[in-house]
């Protein structure tokens, strides 16, 4: 068996090797989302423990948060989830241009969310509401912890928004290069699932920090 034959043989095997299993891909994605829920689950557990321990102080500390920005960001994320879902629907109906447009809208909304978050956090920093600040050190321990939890949870969520945006950029490129097509769009669907998770976690963070006051 000459070298070229061996090489051809291996190449053939490699082609055969790339098999497609959309159900498997989605199953893997759901498992991954499950681990994401548990990652945040640890934080939700801590939040619950401290909320029970420092009930009154959490109550008071929450009044400092800006419900307006929080509500606005909730609307932004919910809308972005919708545009994401529509982008997949457009792809299923072979409307590539529309799908790209909706995907871009999702990204712009995500960026809007982060810009709001930036202004919200900067305002808090200016008033000295950040861990280790003199303002917070003088407050009761429960209020200090409220901000500890607030920055940990919304911070981790913001990182997930950034990760989601990065994924969406890749999806955009994949669609333009036709590696996501109306017959093979499981990558886009999985990214959508991830994006909905990011949205869903915010749906829980919003009342826990902004509304329970």
């Amino acid at each position: 068996m000459s070298d070229t034959v061996i090489k051809n043989h291996t190449e053939n095997l490699h082609e055969e090797h790339v098999h497609r299993d959309d159900t498997g891909a989605k199953m893997g994605m759901w498992l991954f989302l499950f681990t994401e829920l548990l990652l945040f689950g640890g934080l939700f557990l801590l939040y619950m423990a401290y909320r029970l321990q420092y009930y009154h102080e959490f109550h008071i500390a929450a009044r400092e948060l800006n419900v307006g920005i929080g509500t606005f960001n909730t609307i932004i994320l919910l809308t972005s989830s919708m545009t994401m879902a529509l982008s997949i629907a457009a792809m299923q109906r072979s409307r590539k241009g529309l799908s790209l447009f909706l995907l871009a809208s999702t990204k712009i909304l995500a960026l809007g969310f982060l810009v709001n978050k930036y202004f919200e956090w900067s305002a808090k920093f200016e008033h000295g509401f950040f861990p280790g600040s003199d303002v917070l050190i003088d407050k009761p321990r429960g209020e200090y912890l409220f901000y500890g939890m607030y920055y940990a949870m919304t911070g981790l969520h913001a990182l997930h928004v950034i990760a989601g945006m990065t994924i969406l950029v890749f999806m955009f490129v994949f669609i333009t290069r036709n590696s996501i097509t109306p017959t093979n769009y499981v990558k886009l669907e999985n990214s959508g699932l991830y994006w909905h998770l990011v949205d869903l976690i915010w749906i829980f963070l919003f009342p826990l920090f902004y509304l329970m006051r």
């Binding site: 068996m1 061996i6 090489k7 043989h9 291996t10 095997l13 490699h14 055969e16 090797h17 098999h19 299993d21 159900t23 498997g24 891909a25 199953m27 893997g28 498992l31 991954f32 499950f34 681990t35 994401e36 548990l38 990652l39 945040f40 689950g41 640890g42 934080l43 557990l45 801590l46 423990a49 401290y50 321990q53 420092y54 861990p131 280790g132 321990r141 429960g142 200090y144 912890l145 500890g148 939890m149 920055y151 940990a152 981790l156």
Partner: protein, 541 residues
């Protein structure tokens, strides 16, 4: 059948060419078999580092007071020994090496469900390893918190804590991705006809383990990240000075780290369920009982974590409940042991090296398991808490359990992985040395712990010296046994006798293909019509 496949020329996975050259043929390969071997290489290197640290620690304990190192170095050594052995060796352990290599073969698949994700897991493992090692040499000095990273000390110490913690996080991520991959593989890629109850028991064990990896690891991931963030920004979440509760750290840590010991032991139990039928030439006794006991251990293991915290001041009610739940784990574990022994009964036993390792496992693991009951009951736990008794128990179950089966699996599957046989005589000598050294080293620790020697102490009272010396000498015998075994395996891989497709007369699918396996495992995906260990049918004929 084996002769037939031997005679046909084929390209095995060790020779296969790809578009990459040199070492990149391996480190960029998505072949599950190559990834398994790459994990094995990495883990062997870390195992040797861990052994060296353990050896030096035992040497330090030869005499009271300072022998070869100062107390701070000893603190760093026991921490690193734990971190390396747990996060870099035993948690990836059997799933990363034999799960990767054998799972697709045993279910009749050409690869895992996500080959590229599999390669990413390996890369994350390497990056985690590099971070852990790099932290030793950076400003601040090596971590000295113990492998459990308990707060508030891990928040206060000036040593390098954040980098090894981040390494543990990355390794956890690698473990999660492997778990996702294996669960999906088992669900999607079984050969036609292979129902869940026709799967080999090793596959069942890997499947249960993969679920624990997916469910438990994220919790420790977030806990570790919080400690890092806490050190950088003082969030207060685990810092008692700022209102946080250090006990919550322990809860979150053990919510993962207790199930993690089942990540370590379950795959080993799976490998035992493969080796015993093959070497006894009998169908496994109680197939379904063993399969379900894996799931039961995975499930109950999730609800016992607070038995690590009996002396922390948690309430009596919760201590009572956690103690009770801990005892429940003994039931599925016992089910397994009795089924293994029943399989051997009236079997046609070949006492090859893998089976001898398994016998050693049953002996050592039973001691480890029974002393686990001593630790699980509240009254005795308080007496031996944080003593050498715990260290001995842990090493009996983890080293005597998992690592012995890791060694057994190395011998059992070496012919399949490399197409070479090991030297049986040398293997048996190494087993004898390991058995004697192991018991000298760790059994003395049960006595020392019962008499009151605390764990992690650099110094000890003069009356403990006799036992400490026996223990240290035991470590020398143990290590010489392990080195002999590695020498034997290494030599066999290089120039051992050629192995046939099925040297042991195994019945699972990996033995139906040539050794080493062809690049894509099966020319034709087999159709499964019977259970995995159908020795009975042949006898009937």
């Amino acid at each position: 059948m084996s002769e037939n496949s031997e005679s046909k020329p084929y390209i095995n996975f060790l020779q296969a060419e790809s578009k990459h050259k040199g070492i990149f043929k391996w480190i960029l390969s998505t072949d599950h078999k190559r990834i398994g071997i790459m994990y094995m290489t990495g883990m062997m290197a870390f195992l040797l580092v861990g052994i060296t640290l353990g050896f030096l620690m035992k040497l330090e304990m030869l005499t009271p007071g300072k022998t070869i190192m100062d107390a701070q170095t000893y603190n760093a050594f026991f921490t690193l020994h734990g971190v390396i052995m747990i996060f870099l060796f035993i948690i990836p352990g059997l799933p990363a090496v034999f799960g990767n290599f054998m799972l697709p073969l045993q279910i009749g698949a050409r690869d895992v469900a996500f080959p590229r994700l599999n390669l990413l897991s390996w890369w994350l493992y390497v990056v985690g390893g590099i971070f852990a090692i790099a932290s030793l040499f950076l400003q601040g000095g090596p971590i000295d918190t113990g492998w459990t990273f308990y707060v508030p000390y891990s928040l206060r110490t000036g040593t390098n804590v954040s980098l090894p913690l981040f390494a543990a996080f990355i390794l956890g991520f690698s473990s999660i991705l492997t778990g996702i991959n294996f669960v999906t593989t088992v669900h999607r890629l079984r050969a036609p006809g292979m129902t869940f109850f026709k799967m080999p028991l090793f596959v069942w064990a890997i499947y249960s383990t993969a679920w624990i990896q997916v469910i438990a690891t994220p919790v420790v991931g977030i806990t570790i990240i919080l400690v890092i963030v806490e050190r950088a920004f003082s969030l207060g979440i685990f810092d008692p000075a700022l209102g946080g509760d250090p006990l919550l750290f322990q809860h979150l840590f053990w919510i993962y780290s207790h199930p993690a010991v089942y990540i370590m032991i379950l795959p080993a139990m799976g490998a035992v369920s493969e080796i015993i039928p093959t070497f006894a030439k009998r169908t496994i006794f109680g197939y379904k009982a063993i399969a379900f006991s894996s799931l039961a251990i995975a499930f109950i293991g999730y609800f016992v974590w607070a038995h690590h915290m009996f002396t922390t001041g948690i309430s009596d009610t919760s201590r009572f409940i956690f103690s009770l739940l801990t005892f429940l784990v003994a039931i599925p574990s016992g089910v397994k042991v009795f089924n293994w022994v029943a399989t051997l009964y009236k079997g046609s036993i070949t006492p090859g090296a893998p089976l001898l390792f398994v016998m050693m496992f049953i002996f050592l693991f039973s001691i480890g398991g029974l002393t686990g009951l001593v630790l699980g009951s509240l009254a005795t736990n308080v007496h031996v808490h944080d003593t050498y008794f715990v260290v001995a128990h842990f090493h009996y179950v983890m080293f005597g359990g998992t690592v012995m089966i890791f060694f057994a699996a190395l011998h059992y599957w070496l012919p399949k992985m490399f197409g070479r046989m090991y030297n049986e005589k040398v293997a048996k000598w190494s087993i004898a040395l390991i058995f004697i050294g192991f018991n000298m080293l760790y059994f003395t620790m049960f006595i020392l712990g019962y008499e009151g020697q605390p764990r992690r102490y650099w110094d000890y009272l003069p009356q403990f010296q006799t036992l400490q010396i026996i223990s240290t000498v035991g470590s020398w015998i143990l290590i010489s046994g392990i080195l002999l075994m590695f020498g034997n395996l290494h030599r066999s891989i290089k120039r051992g006798a050629k192995a046939e497709a099925n040297p042991w007369g195994g019945k699972t699918l990996e033995w139906t293909i040539p050794s080493p396996p062809p690049v894509h495992n099966f020319d034709e995906i087999p159709v499964i019509t019977h259970g995995p260990y159908n020795y009975g049918e042949e006898e009937a004929k």
